[in-house]
Amino acid sequence: MSATVPGTETVTLQIDGREITVPKGTSLVVAAAEHAGVEIPVFCYEPRLGPPIGACRMCLVEIEGAPKLQAACTMSCGDGMVVKTAETSEQAKDAQDGVLEFMLLNHPLDCPVCDKGGECPLQDLTFRYGPGNSRMTLPKRTYEKPLPISSSIVLDRERCILCYRCTRFSGDVAEDGELVARERGATSVIATFDEQPYANAFSGNVTELCPVGALLPTAYRFKARPWEIVNVPTTCTGCATGCNTWATLREGKVERILSRNHPDVDEGWLCDKGRFARYEPRDERIAAPLHRGATGLEPAPWDEVLSTTAKRLRHLQATGDAGAIAIVTGGALTNEEAHAWRAIADALKARTASAPVAANAAWERLDAYAAPLAAIDRADVVVVIGDQEPTDRAGTIDLRIRKARRAGAHLAIVGPGGTSLEPDAGTFARTLPGAGASVVAALAAAAVAVGGERVRADAPTAGSVESLAAQAGAAEELLGLLAAARAAARRPGLFVTDPVATADLEALGWALGLDAGDGGIVPLPAGANERGERAVGLVGGWDEVLAGLEQGTVSGVILVGCDTVVESADGERWQMALAQTDVVISVAAFTNGVTSQSQVVLPLDVEHEREGTVMNLEGRVQRVRPSLPPISGVSMLEWTARFAGFLDVATPTTAAKAFSAIAASAPAFAGLSWSTLGERADLHRTRPAAERPAAPAPAAPPAAPPDGAFRLIAPRPLFSGAAVERTDTLAHQRAPYVVLAREDAERLGIGRGDEVRVRHAAGEHVGPARISRRLVPGAVRINWRGSAAGTSATVGAAG
């Protein structure tokens, strides 16, 4: 007998003579495996893809009283059911033999040269079940192979058993509908449209879902046999979601990333950036300390560089005001590395900056309202406000938003349009680009104006509803949305992707009473460990440092793992400011926009090279583990300790010690210990009681662009950054495109797919046109590699 959760309705049934009691609604496949210890083999069954489809027929079982065999995957356990699996039913065994024989009829049985071999469900289940021979006397079906369905993935149609896992992922999880089955019956094949690449941001998941060797990551083909590899559990640091991963290590190289399903974080999904982007080639990396000599940046011994640098900074500190030195980070550090830099900042009386805009990054202000990721699944209303798709900020969140919508949540999109969540949204309220801040203010004010039991009577207001909503260009939709939210939003989820001051979000959270239940605001930091860096004390924004540089109050800057020239919306200003700054030191993986202006450049350890922890957007602290040695042979924790030594302070040289120090000093880490973080970290939320915030300042509506110019929408895309730009297999993901409103395209005589040139302050972007019927006219949306938001652009046909 198995244990059951008290208070849930249960049913008692028999599987292969064993009586078990399971919660009502349990799938027979799951019940058999988890409660009766009987494996019912499956291929198509995968609960993360939605309701079972009963396609592969591998799980046929005999159920007493049923006229024929039943697929266990589509059966729920019933009280009194008597089930015989192939273990005990000859009829089921014969059917299962038949299914496996059918499945292998046209399969090439090329296991010796198949990358899936050794970790292949088809191979394993054929070994354990099935007849062991085939009676096929006819030629097998053959196809052209392998077929690249993108630069990341190859398809082998002969190996495919048409279980439809991949197409269900594309259609029902990612909802892109780009990877489909075409034709019918025995001629069905998996395909994309017109040989176009499968370009969904989450496409790589199909390589893990595929139970045979039909969909394989291009980069891993013929790379390793399963017995030669080591899988290291770690956490993706591509963005602030913190998806749990395995790094597949073979002979000193990370060859593959797999999901390591954390149900509360990633549900076993990864984005293609996390899965495929690599900081390679390693020989192009900055692998030693460099200082600028007569011929440019030249390698030099660690101690010489560190001691000289310490001296120069001490000198600056002595001659300048407090805060004359700035340490600028961007979420690329581990908490432990950040802790070391905090100590160095203290020693130098330096100011710090860990987020692009200080006002938008006071995440702890939102702690009373913040919702964990898993709460999105339970949301009644999901509101996305801003120019950017949540995907671009935090990849797999997109999949959760879609899942919530499929489960019945009302999805409201408030933005300028042209994103992929709009078609199925319950509400699409179109605004001008850059209107997120004024929309948030309008929402807060409208929530108060509309009133109701869930709106706090003492909520602060900012301006009149009508004027602000009108400025946002979406008054009616907005109020309708609010009414719906108020009516149903016991469990709302609110995403804001535009730069919006956290104080304004706090006011909205207060007005809507989002501190109840799970909370309702899901903050989306720009940097992967931005929250962690801030939590250990690296507070402040790049905008403040930039102002200091321009005003001359900051004369020395250390840029650690951030390229403010590319990643900031003020890249041009950064470039000019750095050129006039006395001391510029950068820590980087590759030469970039700031290393070229630095006197000293130090090597940055990146993913798979570091031991430590990171904090995701929820505040969850998770381990990152090294698979590779530090690029220079010396870890950042070691050389920062050395550097700190030259500044007469001591910092821990191991992650474990550093973590203990953090846990003892930083409130967000209170109660955590290195040894108990575990493989699937819990969320230790610190949820203070909500306090009445100050009324936000009325938000200014977006400024009008110059005559004839377009409003530019160019938030930093998911597929950007040093690793993405160097990963060949992501070429199709970063391929440029230009989204134009239909009215503008018609006016300019631009058709779908025509090359379009967009000139803007940060540069020039050329790509094929996508025509949108939702994008607000007068705006142009591009996937510019950097951040160029809030500027204007000119648009014209290229060539």
Binding site: T167, G171, D176, G177, E178, L179, V180, A181, R182, E183, R184, A191, T192, F193, D194, Q196, P423, R752, I771, R773
Partner: protein, 163 residues
């Protein structure tokens, strides 16, 4: 094309969700383009806010959508049991001879595509030949040459209206 977009929206209005209008939308696109070229599928995708691949997946499931170019006229001979028992195999052979192409092909002048199809639901009145989706029943080998001659000079069907 804009008018196709608008026509599709009229179909969308008949259903509680836009996706259900995919078959009428594909039919309209095929009428306009002659076959479901990538461009035609992209137009349907745009009008229904679906991916072009989704439109392809659905279109390729059904026998009545052409994913390759066809002639101005499509002649389909039912070769299922009831028609085959009463001589549709001979009718099909006669078409092949008259048109000079094997079943599945298009006559050299690009006018007529010949296909064999499964049961059209005219079993008691066979052999059944469907010409541009209009049934001709009790079709005999003698009817082949006159029909081909007629179709060779007839313009392409652009509407399926039979009312």
């Amino acid at each position: 094309m804009a008018d196709l977009y608008d026509k599709i929206q009229l179909e969308v209005a008949k259903y509680p969700n836009r996706r259900s209008a995919i078959l009428p939308a594909l039919r309209l696109a095929q009428e306009q383009y002659g076959w479901l070229s990538p461009e035609a599928l992209e137009s349907v995708a745009e009008a229904l806010d679906l991916s072009p691949a989704t439109c392809l997946a659905v279109a390729s499931f059904y026998d009545m959508f052409f994913l390759q170019p066809v002639g101005d006229h499509v002649v389909e001979v039912c070769t299922n049991l009831s028609c085959a028992l009463v001589g549709s195999d001979k009718v099909l052979s006669a078409f092949e001879e008259e048109l000079g192409v094997p079943c599945g092909g298009t006559s050299a002048d690009g006018k007529i595509t010949l296909r064999s199809v499964e049961c059209l639901g005219g079993c008691g009145w066979g052999p059944v030949v469907s010409v541009d989706h209009e049934y001709q029943e009790h079709f005999t080998t003698e009817d082949v040459a006159p029909l081909v001659a007629e179709l060779r000079v007839a313009p392409r069907h652009t509407s399926e209206s039979h009312a």
